[in-house]
C-alpha cells in the first residue's frame, strides 16, 4: 500500500518529490520569516509592528529539511520591537541596539545611562510568551512585558535598586529621569497604541496612584523616624485623620495613608501635585531625607509590584 505520508512506501521519484516539497516548505517558512523581519524593521505603523513582533516571538524557523545556522531568539525580537516603537514615537535616539555577531544576540543601551546599563529581554518561561527586561550587568529586572496578554508591569524593587541606589552617585538626576521617562514613554505607547494594561508602579505620576508598602502593618516607629528626619530638614510631618501628611512644597504633598483608593485597609503613599507630574520615584530623587528613610526601611516600605510576575 502506498502511503504519501510515509516516504518508505514511496518510489524514488516520489521520495524526491516529497523531499523537494519539504525543502520548499522550509524555504517558504524562511520567506515568511524575512517578510516579518522586514515588517518589524521597516514599518511605520505601530499596529503592523506589534503584529510582526508577536508572530516572531513564537516563530519556529527551522524545519526538518531546512535549518538556519544564524538565528536570533524570541527575546531579541522584543528588543527590536521596543526600539522600533520608541523610534515611531520620536524617541529612537534614546536607545541604541547592539548586535553581537559571535553568538547572534541583541542588547540595548539607554543613551541617558551612558555605558552603565546593558539591557536585554529574557524569557519568563510562563508559556504565554512573557519576557523580562533585564540589566545584564546587575541582573536587575526593570519590567515584565507580555505581548500576547497585552500587559506591562514595572518592577519597583529593581527600579529602586538601579536608579535610586546604584546609579545615584554615578549619574546626574536629569539623566536618571531621562532613563525612567523612556520606560514610561514605552509603557505609554503600549497603552495608547494597543490598549495594553500597564502598571507604572512608583514611576506613576497620577495623583490617584496608591503606592502600596510591602508591610500591611506599618509600625509607628517607622513614621516616627520620618517625623524626626523631616523635622531636621525643616519639614513638618503633620497629623491626618488617616495617617500623616508631609507638605514638600506648596505644590507637592505626600500622604501616608492606611487605606488604598478603593477604601480597603492597606498602608501606602499618595503623592499629590496639581500638574500630576510628580511620582514617588521623583520624590525619592529630589529629597535625600525621604530617600534615606525609604532605603533604611526598605523591608517594610518597598512599594509592591505585581506579585503574579515578580
Amino acid at each position: 500500500m502506498i502511503n504519501e505520508n510515509d516516504p518508505s512506501t514511496l518510489s524514488t521519484s516520489g521520495r524526491l518529490l516529497s523531499y523537494n516539497d519539504a525543502v520548499k516548505e522550509g524555504l517558504a517558512t524562511g520567506q515568511a520569516f524575512t517578510a516579518l523581519m522586514d515588517q518589524l524593521i521597516n514599518t511605520k505603523d505601530p499596529a503592523t509592528l506589534v503584529e510582526a513582533a508577536q508572530e516572531l516571538s513564537v516563530f519556529v524557523l527551522d524545519s526538518d529539511y531546512v535549518t538556519f545556522p544564524h538565528q536570533y531568539n524570541a527575546a531579541d525580537y522584543y528588543l527590536i520591537f521596543m526600539s522600533r516603537l520608541l523610534e515611531l514615537h520620536d524617541q529612537g535616539a534614546a536607545v541604541t541596539l547592539q548586535s553581537h555577531e559571535g553568538d547572534q544576540h541583541l542588547t540595548q543601551q539607554l543613551t541617558a545611562l551612558g555605558d552603565l546599563g546593558v539591557f536585554a529581554f529574557r524569557s519568563a518561561n510562563d508559556s504565554t510568551g512573557g519576557v523580562y527586561y533585564q540589566d545584564q550587568v546587575t541582573g536587575e529586572v526593570l519590567f515584565y512585558l507580555n505581548l500576547k496578554r497585552q500587559l506591562m508591569r514595572m518592577n519597583s524593587s529593581a527600579i529602586t535598586k538601579l536608579f535610586v541606589e546604584t546609579y545615584l552617585d554615578k549619574l546626574e538626576d536629569e539623566h536618571i529621569l531621562a532613563a525612567t521617562d523612556l520606560l514610561i514613554a514605552f509603557g505609554q505607547s503600549l497603552k495608547e497604541d494597543f490598549g495594553f494594561d500597564v502598571d507604572f508602579n512608583l514611576l506613576d505620576t497620577s495623583n490617584s496612584e496608591f503606592y502600596a508598602f510591602t508591610t500591611s502593618d506599618l509600625s509607628g516607629e517607622i513614621v516616627d523616624k520620618l517625623f524626626v528626619a523631616a523635622a531636621s530638614e525643616n519639614y513638618m510631618l503633620k497629623h491626618a485623620q488617616d495617617g500623616a501628611i508631609l507638605e514638600l512644597s506648596p505644590e507637592v504633598t505626600m500622604k501616608i495613608v492606611s487605606h488604598n483608593t478603593t477604601g480597603a485597609a492597606a498602608w501606602g503613599i499618595l503623592i499629590q501635585d496639581k500638574a500630576q507630574q510628580v511620582s514617588w520615584f521623583k520624590v525619592l530623587l529630589a529629597y535625600p531625607f525621604l530617600r534615606q528613610w525609604y532605603l533604611d526601611n526598605l523591608d517594610d516600605l518597598q512599594i509592591r509590584s505585581d506579585s503574579l510576575v515578580f
Partner: protein, 295 residues
C-alpha cells in the same frame, strides 16, 4: 361662680411668702437663662452659672447675693450647656491659641491636643463652663522645662540622648575589639601552658601560683568582655529605639515651644494669658455684645 372666691382668703404666713419668693426667684432665674439661650447671649449664661466669679473677675466687685443654689438648678444640664457654650469659646480660642485642637470625646467634654503634627500630644482637657484649660501636669511640666533648657541651648532630652549614645559607642568598641581580644586570649593561653610546664621548684611554687592566677584572671576578664560583646548588637538596637523615642519627644517639644513663641513670645506670657482667660473671654463677649448693639 367658683367656690373659692366665695370663701374668705386665708392669711399668707411668712413661711409661705418666703416660699413664694424663693420660687419666683427660681422661675426668674430659669427664665433669664432660657432667654439668654434663645438670644445666644453666652455672657449672660456665664454670669448666671457662676455669678460670684463673674462679679469678682469681670465686674471687679464683690457679689452681694448668694446664687449658688440657683446655679445648682441646672447642674444636671452642665453637659449640654458645656456643649453649647463650647462653640463660641472654641472659636475664640482658635484666635488666641491657634495651636490647640479640641476633640469632643463626649457631649461637652473636650480633650486638648497640642499642634497638628504627627503624634501630637494629648495636652489636657478644656473646662468650658469655667473657661479654663486643665493641662496634663506631666506634659505641661515637660514643656515648661523645655523653655528653661532652651535658654542654655539644650533640648529636653539632650543629656539623656548623649548618655545613651556614649553607651552605644562603648558597646561598639567592645564589638570592634573582638579580634584583638582573641589574639590576647591566644597569647595568655600560651603563657599559661608555659607556666604549667615550668619545673616547680619548692621555693618557686608561690611565685608560679601567683603568675598562674594572674593569667587566669585576665582570661576570665576577656571572657566577660566576649559575653558582653555578644549581647552588644541587641543592646545597641534597643538604644537606637530609645534614642528615636527621645528625639521624637524633643521634636514635639520644640514644635510646641515654637508655637508658643509665635503667639505669646515666651512661656510666662502664655501662663499669664491662661490665668486671665476667663476675664479675657467674658470681656470679649461683652465687647461683641456692644458691637452688635451698635449695629
Amino acid at each position: 361662680m367658683q367656690s373659692n372666691s366665695e370663701e374668705p382668703r386665708q392669711e399668707i404666713t411668712p413661711g409661705q411668702a418666703q416660699l413664694d419668693s424663693s420660687i419666683t426667684q427660681k422661675i426668674n432665674y430659669l427664665e433669664t437663662l432660657q432667654r439668654a439661650l434663645h438670644d445666644r447671649d453666652d455672657r449672660q449664661i456665664y454670669e448666671l452659672i457662676d455669678k460670684t466669679r463673674y462679679d469678682r473677675e469681670v465686674k471687679k466687685s464683690r457679689a452681694t447675693t448668694q446664687t449658688q443654689e440657683l446655679a445648682d438648678l441646672v447642674a444636671n444640664d452642665h453637659q449640654q450647656l458645656s456643649h453649647y457654650l463650647s462653640q463660641n469659646l472654641i472659636e475664640y480660642l482658635g484666635q488666641t491659641y491657634p495651636f490647640f485642637y479640641y476633640d469632643e470625646v463626649q457631649d461637652g467634654e473636650f480633650d486638648i491636643y497640642f499642634g497638628n503634627w504627627w503624634d501630637r500630644r494629648l495636652f489636657g482637657q478644656l473646662d468650658v463652663l469655667n473657661v479654663a484649660f486643665n493641662f496634663d501636669e506631666t506634659e505641661y511640666n515637660k514643656l515648661k522645662r523645655t523653655f528653661e533648657l532652651s535658654a542654655m541651648n539644650q533640648r529636653y532630652n539632650t543629656d539623656h540622648i548623649a548618655e545613651i549614645t556614649s553607651k552605644s559607642a562603648e558597646l561598639q568598641k567592645l564589638i570592634d575589639q573582638q579580634d584583638e581580644r582573641d589574639h590576647q586570649k591566644d597569647q595568655l593561653r600560651d603563657q599559661l601552658k608555659e607556666v604549667s610546664q615550668k619545673s616547680t621548684l619548692p621555693w618557686d611554687s608561690g611565685k608560679v601560683k601567683e603568675e598562674r592566677q594572674s593569667i587566669v584572671d585576665q582570661l576570665s576578664n576577656l571572657a566577660d568582655q566576649d559575653e558582653a560583646s555578644m549581647n552588644a548588637n541587641k543592646q545597641i538596637k534597643e538604644n537606637d529605639e530609645q534614642i528615636l523615642g527621645l528625639s521624637k519627644e524633643d521634636t514635639i517639644l520644640n514644635y510646641e515651644k515654637q508655637s508658643i513663641q509665635q503667639t505669646f513670645e515666651d512661656f510666662s506670657h502664655f501662663e499669664s494669658h491662661n490665668q486671665s482667660l476667663y476675664t479675657d473671654y467674658l470681656n470679649s463677649l461683652i465687647g461683641r455684645g456692644q458691637v452688635s448693639a451698635d449695629d
